[in-house]
Amino acid sequence: MQPRVIAIVAARRGGPVLQQTLDALAQQSRRPDLLVVVDAAGGAAAGADAVTAQLAAANPTQFITAGSGLGFGELVHRALGALPAAEPTSSPYGGVDEWLWLLRHDTVPDPRALERLLAAVEIAPSVAVAGPKQLEAEHPTVIAGYGETLTRLGASIAIAERELDQAQHDRTSDVLAVGEAAMLVRRTVFAAVDGFDPALPSVDAALDLCVRIRLAGHRVVGVPQARVFVHESSAQAARAGAGRTPSDRVLARLRRTAQLHRRLVYAPPLAVPLHWLSLLPLAVGRALGQLLRKQPGRVGGEFAAALAVAFSGGAVPSARRRLARSRTMGWAAIAPLRMPPDEVRRRRAVARDATLAAGEDDRPPRPAFLPGGAWLVAFAAVVGAVAFAPLLGAPALLGGALAPLAPDAAALLEQLRWSPEGAADPFAFVLAGLGALTAWQPSLALGVLWVAALPLAALGGWWAAAALVRHPGPAAVAALLWAFSPTLLSALANGRPAAVIAHLALPLLVIAAARAPRSWSATAVAGLTAAVVVASAPALLPALVIAWVVWMLAHPRRIGRLLTLIVPTAALLGPLAWQQLQRGTPLGLLADPGLPVAPPAASPTGILLGWPDLSLALGPLAALAPDAAPLAPAPLAVLVLAALALPAVLVALLALALPTARTAVLPLVLAATGIATAWAVAGIAVAVADGAAVPLDVGPALSLAALGIALAAAVGLDGIRTPAAQRRVASYGPEPRGPRRLATALGLVLVVLALTAAAPVLAATLTGSSAVRAGEPRTLPAIVAAEAQSDPTIGTLVLRPVVAPPSATESAGTPAVSARIDRGAGRTLIAQRTLVTTGAFTETVRSEGPYAAAEIATLAANLVAPSGADSADGLVSRHVRFVLLEQSGPGVDPAIVSDMVAALDGNPALAPVGDTDTGRLWRVVADDEVHLLAADPWPGSGVVLGVQLSILALTLLLAVPTSFRPRRPAEPTEAEGPTATFEAEGDDD
């Protein structure tokens, strides 16, 4: 029985690779009997003529031209269609045993490949398919593929893939399937099973064919002695044109599509509808899984695959008919050939380990957190607990820009919606997240934040510094400089929650952004922390946008990934930005969120020294100065502060002169950006509250500068030690002690200076002279809060005597009051809207209706001055039950205030309640039956909020660290060679 071999070469591309293939065919020790070439280069494509010429030069038996869009299977079918039918025979396997040898343009067979394949099939008549061992053409010692199989769930899996060939698979013979490259298949069997499935054009085609041949009762074997060198994978080879390597993303989609198609084809008839219905839910679940696995690029592919298979028309029925026609055996027959689950798990574990190891190799060594870092955080925790002990467990913090966070847990969500007043501030989302930590009493979270701020800052500072330095000492110095930075202490002492949160988030942002080009997880973390920073300190927005653009330009290859950094920020800021731009007040986006309370005035000296509130430091220092000091107390104190701050700056600059210069550049640029931003925003006041413009807080910008200095100083200290360490590596001697001692001494000096500067502020908090105090969760008097318990919509007209603003060119003595209506127990942080505080008076939101500014102004003026107007109606119709005259602002003539009190006292519509902790209170005498319903929010607000929260949730999913060390199964006992798996372009996660 003489086998007759028909070699079919399907060529999509020409060039040297095709030539090698054709040459190798010509050099076979057992020459194919017929050579059929299929020219699929596409007649019109450039270089197609060359391919045709190359193919023609090989003297083929048949020359067939086919469209370039066809799959490998289709091309083979075309070639077969051009051949004369197989000769009739009486033998069950044909008189003349006809074999098809399927080659692609990129598959270069070993000269003895065909001989060895035939040798394998000749001795076993039951074998219908034989496949060679595929080796990578560029690395001929690496197996590209040798046999394929299915997992229990039907996913295709290669038995060997990208492994160094150490003959470890040479004992494997019977396999479920072999790859398409240089596959030798019996022609009759190929025809009996109807050939390839046209619905599998690029991957899994050979697998599916082999499965059907197996189910038809034939065997499939791999022949390790026969070797073929492949240049392209089957997916790549299936691509037309130049045949670029398909990306991971495309490959994953193709594989998933093929798997889903095969699932519908192989399933029992009754299960097909169920499988069909599960396509989309599974796609959603797997998409979330891809996010968790830091593969957001594959999300689209999951849906594309599910949709492609769900609506593939007749592909599945025709494939099911094709399978049914040829099947003679049950699925149980191939079950032993599937890969056992244990083996699947083991392979995944190995792959994860390899990825992890690659990532570790890639990362510079980090100083160990234990024990030094832990001690440091513990120290900061103790200092924080002692300094803020009075605030621990306080139901709310008051003073400065502090107020109760939210009245209850429901408000956390409700206040995020787009209300009639306008879009919620991004900071509201931050506060909602914070308040959710203590959902039973959201305001409690602020006290926790105050106590935990120092250790959290130390932790963040350590984490940031540890990414830049090699020794724990410098990292500890950076963490302490950061935790006891004047900006954090000022924000804590002056009660500015937004600045505190921005300070805590900045190191995470800087380091996550630095890693973002290499990691999806870091990108998501950077995106979220950027949203937190921008929400808390919108003044940093311009600096961050510039940094973002520069970072993208620096990493043009990762520009797509870096573009997504802005997504969470855009999601939070979008509605507000839209409204501000529509209103024509884009600068309003810079307004500090939270209560519109003016921060302490910033001075150029303070900016340079890093103190947002210089008086915090100057007060105690000036008090300490001896009376006979040669300079006035204030300049002397400034000099002392400068002396305390300068060494850190000098060490930071010194880092540039050391071998670590490269690492120090980024932190120093950050520091300069921070100082420049602080200078730029110091004179800007875009919000208006209590009759005065509220300047922007320079604190967060100075935080940025402080972070840069702390990190650069750490790099500098590290650099003092590093040359020594290098010499030790070179000479294998002990590390010289001099540089090490110098670095330690310098670090100690920096820490002591920082703590000295910080001590008075910390003490101020402890002695109660700070603005922050523990209080009840209300900003209005207790009697109002008590009444708000039963009716949270009751209003209080809050009046505050102020000095008339200079813009109003009235006579200087004109009495002036600010007026607003608070609801419930008073103002809460989460309900504040910068859209309102930055609005011009003629704003449409407030210029109409009962809450129009003009209406409120008339009401207020007729209350604070003797008037014949009857105010009762105006109060009752707005459901105002109380009138509060707050402590007057600075510089207000007491006589004016007493006149106002007289007018309010004499008003028959009001009954005096008395002096309270927040001012003098009157109750509205008239009963009112008005019950305010919560104003209907804009109907689309729920959708907007839903989109915003979904984006945050998905980013969070992507940010969750999942690259922990996997559980390693027991080492397999079978003798097996080492496995070398590596990624072409790996991510850290």
């Binding site: 000269p111 730029a680 005065a692 590596v729 102020v802 603003p805 009051v817 600010s818 008003n907």
Partner: protein, 507 residues
């Protein structure tokens, strides 16, 4: 036929297992291998970089210090609102107070007042509830719809009972939150009542503070006196400050405002020797002007009052510095003809009331100018006696009378006011006293009067009338009423400052 498979070699393996390292690590071995010259060069380059960065940092610092930050400040929206005009009210405290005869003496009104009120469209109403029998304050109201702004009212009392006799007059006053009442005494024979009237629509809670010749007086019952709307409460000062020759009372109210006056009367021996109504000063000040302090027949009076030592018969000025610091005071009595008056210096201990008597004083019309280094309150007292000593029978005459003159606030230059001259019984004449520290041209009911600087001008006036006053300079105006053994005075109050615009800054 050559085997395309290359042999497994070291080169290939290195390539295969070459893990990408960071650029820096890739450079390390090369750096170690570098020659020492190259290393020095690199170090010099880095030093240059560091120096450049230091220079840049210095430039940044200089820029921050020298270049002012860009300034963008949001305009503060301010709405000027003129409050609706309110009703303007004056309270006339009512009749002369005395006690009923009998075992259980009751406070009662012994003489009804004579009253004049001027102002277009005014409305008079009576606050009938009073602690005194038949007592009733009259509220003169200029409603907000009235065509004009000017309102003035005054009343006079002429009791003639065995306990209370004499002439008293007072302008009707606007209710206020604070009032300083300087005058009266609670020594033997002297009776002083604090009269509190609430013309507002809400309760007024009144606190009294008292000072005497020995300093502040602590007493029960001085705080929390509730005066209901439309009610008049009358508090005997003797119950608060016992046997006090020189009381000063501060009245503060919360809730509604009150009109507070003192009514004081003197009985020497068994004879009623005068009555006076004392109207309040708004607040302590460093400068006070009492435009009228007539000294009439001082000799006669001293002679007559020697019955009980006559200590309170002398013309005197009562002063109190209620603050915490001593006040240096200069009291100048400006005679009618102008020129240098009698000037006296004194030091007021804080919280101690000083009665500064003038013993050697010629008869005449004086004005008193008080300048102090600290805010003080002040009032002048003068007495008069009938030449027909001891008889007291003549109609329209009395044996003697006392009068307290409070400082009058200045009418602003260029302003217009109206002064009410109370109706008086027969035999009593009224005169308007004008004093302008810097001089003024005054138009008094159409008659031009020139007031030289530092001189008192006394213009006789018809009683029971309202006189319009227009002045070109700051002017202090009082009205005196005098008859035989009778003396009384009232003041002209500046019109209430028009309630100006209030600036509201809506949040």
């Amino acid at each position: 036929m050559t085997d395309p498979t290359p042999e497994l070699g070291a080169t290939t393996e290195t390539e295969l297992f070459h893990t990408p390292t960071s650029a820096e690590e890739g450079l390390e071995p090369a750096r170690l291998r570098r020659s020492s010259g190259a290393r020095v060069g690199a170090a010099l380059g880095r030093a240059g970089l560091a120096l450049g960065a230091a220079a840049a940092a210095a430039a940044l610092a200089a820029g921050v210090l020298l270049i002012p930050s860009p300034s963008i400040t949001a305009a503060v929206p301010a709405v000027p609102v003129t409050p609706d005009r309110a009703d303007q009210s004056l309270v006339c405290a009512g009749g002369a107070l005395g006690l009923t005869r009998g075992a259980d003496p009751q406070l009662t009104v012994v003489a009804d007042p004579r009253r004049v009120a001027t102002g277009a469209g005014l409305v008079e109403s009576t606050a009938a509830a009073s602690d005194a029998i038949d007592g009733a304050a009259t509220v003169v109201t200029l409603p907000r719809e009235a065509p004009g702004d000017l309102l003035a009212a005054a009343e006079s009392l002429r009791p003639r009972t065995p306990d209370v006799s004499g002439l008293a007059a007072a302008e009707c006053i606007a209710p206020a939150r604070t009032a300083w009442l300087v005058g009266g005494a609670t020594t033997v024979g002297r009776t002083t009542w604090v009269v509190l009237t609430n013309a507002d629509a809400v309760d007024a809670v009144v606190d009294l503070a008292l000072w005497g010749e020995n300093g502040p007086i602590e007493a029960l019952g001085t705080t929390g006196i509730i005066v209901a709307p439309g009610e008049q409460r009358i508090v005997p000062l003797a119950g608060l400050a016992v046997d006090e020759p020189s009381p000063v009372v501060r009245v503060t109210s919360s809730g509604g405002s009150v009109a507070a006056t003192l009514q004081t009367s003197i009985v020497r021996g068994l004879d009623p020797d005068g009555v006076s109504v004392i109207t309040p000063i708004a607040a302590p000040a460093t400068s006070h002007v009492i435009p009228a302090l007539p000294v009439i027949g001082l000799e006669t009076a001293l002679e007559r009052f020697s019955v009980d030592g006559g200590a309170d018969a002398l013309t005197a000025v009562r002063m109190l510095a209620p603050g915490d610091t001593p006040a240096e005071v200069t009291v100048t009595l400006v005679p009618q003809q102008g020129g240098l008056g009698l000037s006296t210096q004194a030091t007021l201990d804080p919280g101690v009331v000083l009665d500064l008597p003038f013993t050697e004083l010629a008869d005449g019309e004086y004005a008193v100018v008080v300048e102090a280094s600290q805010p003080i309150v002040v009032a002048g007292r003068t007495s008069v006696a009938s030449a027909a000593a001891g008889t007291g029978a003549a109609d329209g005459a009395a044996p003697a009378d006392v009068e307290w003159f409070s400082p009058a606030a200045a009418l602003a230059a260029g302003s217009e006011a109206v002064v009410a001259v109370a109706p008086v019984p027969g035999g009593v004449t009224a005169a308007v006293h004008l004093f302008a520290p810097a001089g003024a041209e005054v138009e008094l009911d159409g008659v031009a009067v020139s007031v030289p600087p530092g001189a008192v001008v006394v213009v006789p006036a018809a009683s029971d009338a309202g006189l319009r006053i227009r002045t070109t300079g700051a002017l202090h105006v009082s009205v005196t009423y005098r008859g035989d053994g009778l003396l009384a005075g009232s003041r002209a109050a500046p019109p209430p400052a028009a309630s100006g615009a209030v600036l509201v800054l809506p949040n």
